[in-house]
């Protein structure tokens, strides 16, 4: 059912564990559904003065697809500027895993959502301007979350 790539990431996930003093955290999913993802980001400035993801870690409770998508999203996001990182789409995650079973596509969404939430929280915390598009993305995620909780 799963691709070799998914099984590899599942068995030996990259960048897992918690982080001391992260710049920001993003958490999505809920226990009732079985999948909860938490991303820790350490943000620094590159030589051009842009903020980028210097380090990233994840903790996930969930199925093999949830763990594999978390692992891949950390790979995709690491060393990217925040602006680049928010452009990562769930299709990119699916592609990097050589596809996911249809029923597990929502896991890739969850992984991308965790990243969006972490960056959104960071922008808010540091008082940076949030674009209307990004605000919309965040709103979609939190509505989805609250719907799941009921």
């Amino acid at each position: 059912m799963y691709s070799q790539k998914v099984l590899e990431h599942f068995r030996t996930p990259h960048n897992f564990g918690s982080m001391d003093n992260p710049s920001t955290i993003g958490q999505v999913g809920n226990l009732a559904c079985g999948d909860v993802m938490k991303l820790y980001l350490k943000i620094a400035k590159n030589s051009k003065g842009q903020e980028f993801i210097k380090d990233i870690k994840f903790e996930t409770l969930g199925c093999a697809a949830a763990i594999a998508t978390s692992s891949v999203v950390t790979d995709l996001a690491k060393n990217k500027t925040l602006e680049e990182a928010i452009e990562i789409k769930n299709e990119d995650v699916v592609k990097a895993l050589d596809d996911l079973p249809t029923i597990k596509i929502h896991c890739s969404l969850l992984a991308v959502d965790a990243l969006v939430e972490a960056i959104y929280n960071y922008y808010q915390k540091t008082g940076q301007k949030i674009s209307p598009d990004f605000e919309k993305k965040h709103n979609r995620i939190i509505t989805c979350q609250s719907r799941l909780k009921h």
């Binding site: 799963y2 099984l7 599942f10 068995r11 996930p13 897992f16 564990g17 958490q27 226990l31 009732a32 559904c33 079985g34 999948d35 909860v36 993802m37 938490k38 903790e59 996930t60 409770l61 969930g62 199925c63 093999a64 697809a65 949830a66 763990i67 029923i103």
Partner: protein, 508 residues
């Protein structure tokens, strides 16, 4: 050096004694496809050589006389045959020194290997999903194969001798089941699956009795084939009530009494639950249904031959049993229908099975199912005792070695082969896949492994929170499960749980 069949079979048979308290020659012979007499000869030689000793009593058989690591392969082979490499003509031929060197080298290798290596070098595949389906018993397979031959090619409905020969065999099988269940032969019909039997009951009773009423009662922990049949009947204008269970999965009998109405036509309750193993009190449920004049069906797919079923003493009108849960082939099952029960067939056609189930009978599978039931019934007390011992050993040690784990189902009113445990802060599908890497096959009630993405309705019915259902694993053991396998699982499982608890954002 010469290693003959004796040694090879001897070593294979000995590997079955590793980590075992005791094991009978019969059981090992069955597993290794050897003749018990032949194996007895091998074992008695090994006993003479001091490698094995005899254990008497009900659990009797042979055990290793020493620790496996202290018994070298050379000792075993020497005991079974003269292990010598020499010149073919036993003279001081030109190549003598070379043969002597080879002999010395061989001896060195055989002395360096012990019986313990047999265990470690074996590619372990541990099947702990007997509740999903059992492997076919070699004895059953052997019994079944001749029935594929031309001799038995007749349709049971044909008048010629081919047909009547097949028909006679089916009737003998029917009699065997009738004897096991203590019912009349004509009350047994053969079907192709438990799903078919259960569909026949739900739909057949509904359609035949709709003049009396359109209300059907099932439990909240039925197998999908009963549940989905009931859901479909809802679309046909029938009303379905589901009776709740307590935290152990036992049916709420007061609720059942209150739910039965004048228009209730059927109560269907699973006997031994496939997920949590809880065994229902059929006597009480049957009595309630009898008092109220309602048909009672039980799905005994998991419990048949694991829990004694004397239908002459129980008020049961319909019962489902299946072949591939009792070491028979897939695609064979039965339905017991008490004389006088009003039921419409699901399959119409040539009028086989007293007009209740048209389809040409699958002779080899029926013969095999019968053989499987005979073996299971004959070995019932010993096999059940062994399984319960292994089951309770596994439960006790998991709960002891893994914090925040708890048993699902009833501690004692449970199937002898079922172990269902929830682990906090982990998810079942990932556990299942990780265990699969260790070649251990189990099952889970997690939503993530189901096609519906809903957690097990059975676990939720016992009051578990969804996250507790997600973290559940079912281990189901069986005839060929060994204590060595269980010990290996007990070694691996804590590491696996720990790995995913480390990954989880929820720490204790």
């Amino acid at each position: 050096m010469y290693i003959s069949t004796k040694s090879r079979y001897g070593l294979r048979a000995l590997s079955n004694l590793l980590g075992q308290d005791c094991c009978s020659v019969k059981k090992i012979a069955q597993k290794e496809h050897l003749s018990p007499d032949y194996l007895e000869k091998i074992f008695s030689r090994l006993k003479k050589a001091g490698i094995l000793k005899v254990v008497r009593g009900a659990n009797g058989g042979y055990v290793l006389n020493n620790e496996a690591k202290n018994i070298t392969l050379k000792q075993v082979i020497d005991a079974l045959e003269k292990a010598e490499f020499s010149c073919p003509n036993f003279c001081a031929c030109n190549s003598k020194s070379v043969w002597q060197k080879i002999q010395a080298g061989f001896n060195q290798v055989l002395e360096s290997l012990s019986l313990a290596d047999l265990d470690e070098n074996e590619e372990k595949e541990i099947y702990l999903d007997y509740a999903a389906s059992t492997p076919i018993d070699p004895e059953v397979l052997k019994t079944m194969l001749p029935y594929f031959s031309q001799k038995y090619s007749g349709n049971t409905m044909s008048l010629h001798s081919f047909g009547s020969k097949s028909s006679q065999i089916v009737e003998t099988c029917r009699q065997t089941f009738a004897k096991i269940l203590n019912v009349l032969p004509k009350e047994i019909i053969f079907t192709a699956s438990a799903t078919e039997s259960n569909n026949t009951v739900l739909k057949g009773i509904a359609f035949a009795n709709q003049k009396k009423g359109k209300h059907i009662i099932i439990s909240s922990i039925e197998h999908d084939c009963v549940l989905e049949s009931a859901n479909w009947l809802k679309t046909q204008g029938f009303e379905i009530s589901k009776i709740s269970v307590d935290k152990y999965g036992l049916l709420n009998l007061d609720e059942l009494k209150k739910t039965i109405r004048p228009d209730t036509i059927l109560v269907s309750v699973i006997h031994g639950n496939n997920e949590i193993g809880t065994v229902q009190d059929l006597e009480s449920i049957g009595q309630i249904c009898k008092d109220r004049g309602v048909y009672f069906h039980t799905d005994a797919s998991q419990s048949f031959t694991k829990v004694p079923l004397d239908l002459s003493k129980l008020n049961i009108d319909l019962l489902t049993a299946s072949s591939h849960k009792i070491y028979g082939p897939k695609g064979s099952a039965l339905l017991y229908i008490k004389t006088g029960t009003k039921i419409t067939p699901l399959l119409h056609g040539g009028g086989h099975e007293f007009g209740l189930r048209s389809s040409t009978l699958n002779l080899p599978s029926i013969v095999a199912f019968t053989k499987a039931a005979e073996i299971a019934t004959a070995n019932f007390s010993q096999e059940n005792k062994d399984l319960i011992k292994l089951r309770d050993y596994l439960i006790k040690n998991i709960l002891k070695s893994i914090p925040d784990s708890f048993l699902n189902g009833h501690p004692t009113k449970r199937l002898s082969n079922n172990i269902n445990i929830s682990f906090a802060r982990v998810e079942g599908e990932s556990l299942l896949l990780e265990l699969d890497f260790y070649k251990i096959a189990v099952s889970t009630g997690s939503a993530c492994s189901s096609s519906s993405l809903e957690p097990s309705h059975v676990l939720l019915a016992t009051g578990l929170k969804p996250e507790q259902a997600h973290g559940s694993l079912r281990f189901s053991i069986g005839r060929f499960t060994t204590k060595t396998e269980i010990d290996y699982l007990l070694k691996v499982l804590p590491q696996v749980i720990n790995k995913f608890r480390q990954l989880s954002p929820f720490k204790k």
